[in-house]
């Protein structure tokens, strides 16, 4: 882009510390501020260049503010709204009591945003904060603007912080490799640096090698590309496994409640999906309350929503069990019909109460964004969901195996008559078991609200998969559910790249159907005469 050339000259000057005459600075800055007020994207971009060029003391601050939409401009003056909320006159840099009237925030589009990034890249290279320097280096690496080379090299010269130095070298390499007039040896070295970096961006930069390159360079480039691609291919497999695990964990969360109501109690609960939905809506309500009353707690909203969701879904579950299902024991297929009716009612109830449109459930800071682990891109929300699923699973296992309630549950489900003969109040246990299953579904709802629609149809989209998981894993066995969910998740994700999302899923369903032929009672089936009866 042409303005980057001007930017380049400007920075050369800047670096060489040749101070331009005060008057000209004043001129250009006035011009720049006028353009900022003009409310036209091209003018705004131009203004950014001029500010940078003018080496105005506040340039960095102004451009940064512009980037976050904190820059207010009007015909007379331009004001920076500080992150703290105060106001600073952009020209003089002195604080103002309040923003003068008639100021409008300067609008951005993607072009302007890119200009801002590039400018910050240039300006940030000399920023005292190493983190900022690294960010700036990244920006330069992306923009690959030859004009910044001198600045980068200057920065490298005085850089002490190793990571920052690495980032700067990579930025330098990105520029060098695309520069016909650079030393062949430097360019070869650049290829090496990029190879070291070895990610998608490095690949992109290497591919962008201009046609002038010497055979030697071409060869090096080809080698580097091949090597990087090989490495990335390996990582891609790992990545797919990771995706599979995270999908599996979602399935596990959706299905594990069912593994209790359906697996342990033998109740085909078609309203299970709606329990998940209730959990998600509880999260929504909790967040609304927090937004309204205690915004500071927002990052804790999910933690607060968890018990709430468990209680809400669990209570509804108990109500359903006491109100309907207990009259239907021994007739699982009738429970299917009744619960189907209940699911219709719950859906429509939520639709009437919250409206049919999606509701926004925000993501707390710790659940947004991603980080790189080698060639592996891991998003925080998926990571946390996996962890969460594991915790829920462990907790359930503990409840069933270690607590007296769990003991009674297993007793009742294995031999109802005997249990009641031993003085266990089976009715109470049934209600609690069903409540537990539903409550867990509610917990799943909290997690799913982070990755899916929060709408009355939320539950519907998971119910079938949940049944597949439980049946595949083997009814009445939590471990089966775990293995089932993970197998299906991973298989699905390994198939997807080749078969595509739809065919992959179809193939999986067919596999399940065939699998059930081989093992009519799922992966972890109970054996012996007990089952026959």
């Amino acid at each position: 882009m042409s303005f980057l050339h001007r930017l380049k000259h400007a920075l050369v000057i800047l670096v060489a510390l040749v101070a331009a005459s005060v008057a000209s600075i004043a001129q250009t800055t006035d011009e720049a501020f006028k353009r900022l007020a003009a409310d036209s994207y091209s003018d705004t971009s131009r203004a950014i260049e001029m500010l940078v060029a003018s080496a105005h003391p506040n340039a960095a601050q102004i451009v940064e503010a512009l980037g976050d939409g904190r820059l207010l401009a009007g015909p007379s003056d331009v004001v920076v709204k500080t992150t703290a909320g105060g106001f600073v006159d952009a020209r003089t840099g002195q604080a103002l009591g309040a923003a003068p009237d008639g100021l409008k925030p300067v609008r951005l589009n993607n072009a302007v945003r890119r200009a801002v990034q590039a400018a910050l890249g240039g300006l940030g290279l000399l920023n005292p904060d190493p983190a900022k320097r690294i960010a700036a280096a990244e920006a330069v690496f992306k923009s690959r603007d030859a004009g910044l080379l001198p600045v980068v090299e200057a920065a490298i010269g005085r850089e002490t912080d190793p990571p920052a130095l690495k980032a700067l070298r990579q930025a330098q390499a990105a520029i060098l490799i695309a520069r016909p007039d650079a030393q062949p040896l430097d360019r070869l070295a650049a290829v090496e640096v990029l190879y070291e970096r070895g990610d998608q961006d490095a690949l992109a930069t290497l591919r962008a090698l201009p046609g002038d390159a010497t055979p030697a360079l071409r060869e090096a480039q080809a080698k580097a590309i091949a090597a990087i691609e090989g490495r990335l291919r390996l990582w891609a497999i790992v990545q797919n496994l990771w995706y599979g695990l995270s999908l599996g964990s979602v399935l596990l969360l959706a299905a594990i409640g069912l593994a209790i109501t359906f697996g342990v109690m033998g109740v085909i609960n078609m309203a299970h999906g709606e329990m998940v939905m209730l959990g998600a809506y509880t999260t929504f309500v909790v967040q609304e309350l927090i937004r309204a009353n205690a915004p500071g707690l927002f990052d804790w909203s999910l933690a607060i929503a968890l018990p709430a969701a468990f209680i809400v879904a669990g209570a509804v579950g108990i109500a359903i069990e006491r109100g309907v299902i207990r009259f239907l024991y021994g007739r699982p297929l009738e429970t299917l019909l009744a619960t189907w009716g209940i699911s219709l009612i719950l859906q429509q109830a939520v639709r009437t109460a919250f409206g049919p449109t999606n509701r926004e459930v925000g993501a707390p800071a710790f659940m947004s964004g991603a980080f790189e682990l080698g060639g592996l891109a891991i998003t925080y929300n998926r990571l946390w969901i996996i962890v969460f699923a594991a915790l829920v699973f462990a907790a359930l296992l503990a409840i069933l195996k270690l607590t007296p309630m769990g003991l009674q549950m297993r007793a009742v489900t294995q031999n109802r008559r005997m249990a009641s003969a031993m003085g266990i109040r089976t009715g109470r246990i049934d209600a609690l078991t069903f409540g537990l299953g539903s409550g867990v579904a509610g917990l799943a709802g909290v997690a799913l609200s982070q990755i899916d629609n929060v709408s009355p149809n939320l539950g519907q989209s998971y119910i079938i998969d949940s049944f597949m998981v439980v049946v595949f894993g083997g009814v009445g066995n939590l471990w089966g559910t775990l293995v089932g969910a993970m197998t299906l998740g991973v298989a699905n994700k390994l198939l997807e790249p080749y078969a595509g999302a739809v065919l992959g899923k179809i193939a999986l369903l067919v596999c399940i159907i065939l699998f059930i032929q081989k093992r009519p009672r799922g992966l972890f089936a109970l054996k012996g005469r007990a089952v026959e009866a």
Binding site: Y41, R107, L108, N109, N110, A111, R113, R114, Q117, Q200, D201, L203, A204, T205, R207, A208, Q239, N240, Y243, S246, L247, V250, Q347, Q348, R351, G355, P356, T357, N358, R359, E360, G362, A363, S368, G369, A370, A377, T379, Y380, N381, R382, Q450, I451, D452, N453, V454, S455, P456, N457, Q460, S461, N492, K493, E496, P497, G500, A501, V502, K505
Partner: protein
Amino acid sequence: MNSNRREFLGTALAGATFLGASRLPAAAQQETIKVGILHSLSGTMAISETTLKDVMLMLIEEQNKKGGLLGKKLEAVVVDPASNWPLFAEKARELITKDKVAATFGCWTSVSRKSVLPVFKELNNILFYPVQYEGEESERNVFYTGAAPNQQAIPAVDYLAKEEKVERWVLAGTDYVYPRTTNKILEAYLKSKGVKPEDILINYTPFGHSDWQTIVSDIKKFGSAGKKTAVVSTINGDANVPFYKELGNQGIKATDIPVVAFSVGEEELAGIDTKPLVGHLAAWNYFQSIKTPENEAFIKQWQAFTKNPKRVTNDPMEAHVVGFNMWVKAVEKVKSTDPDKVIDALPGIEAPNLTGGISKMLPNHHITKPVFIGEIKDDGQFDVVWKTDGLVPGDAWSKELDGSKDLVGDWVEKKCGNFNVKTGKCGAA
């Protein structure tokens, strides 16, 4: 012996439902003009369609405040086709034959329109269809107030190519007819603009697809070939929320790979935290954020009607507003609600849209619309970054597809929806 009582019960019940089913809400007073509202209030489509039902109720209420139509009050007849396509046909038949509606406003998905089409043809009534769709249709009984592909898709692509210097394209869509057709059109259009096949990636996903990890990372990969890349999304409403959430989480910023969507409006964004999405684009013929007196009045009226000061407006709602006003004008013009008269009167009728222009009903039963490109803002609204100078007339038949490039719809001179300019005959054959 004991069986005849049994029989009696059975028949009685059967008979009862027969009667019940055959005499449904009998028409009230004669002096009202009935208007059918055929939008799903339950099932998967309720998400989008319920709003349109409310908007129609509001418009009809307003019209009645203004003294109704032809001296009569308007009466809304609401039915729930429950996102079930055969039920759409059944309900359409019911509206026309039992409730004797003068016109019907409804449908969202193409399949629902396709399902009611034969009914409207057979019983010769009027349907106003408010949603952007794949085109390739021009029926005498249907008026398409939503965007045709040339009123949404193509301008958007032009914008990306010009303003964002995009050279590499991902066409991602839900696997149904609208995205399929739109992508076919775009593919043809891009190639005609000299884009190489290897620079176009087309990807389809099922309805309500919720696990976007793989696809988003594929897009990331595709975007790292050293050329500026953009995603043109025809992903259907429900699947968008998880899609955008995944985009945000995998850190794809609008400045790296902008996404322009054709099915994401204010309503859809209301379900997402838009901060990570700032700068992604959408192409529509209306945005709530557009500052015109008409629009501000409409928004105020809408939020008052729904008693919800945060309630958003969106493009299909505007389509209904325009369509309704056109219908009212046509009826007033011919002093009758007789479908034939109204159908003939509608082409040429003009009605102000909410963005300061005057939309006009064309002989092919599509309307002229402005096209806006908006960037998502962090408050869930759109910031218009580009607009067409004038209004764009909707093409029923796409110029980019071999099958349809010779076809035109013209219900004024040719009395034909698919007139073939090559053969000069109606019906293409």
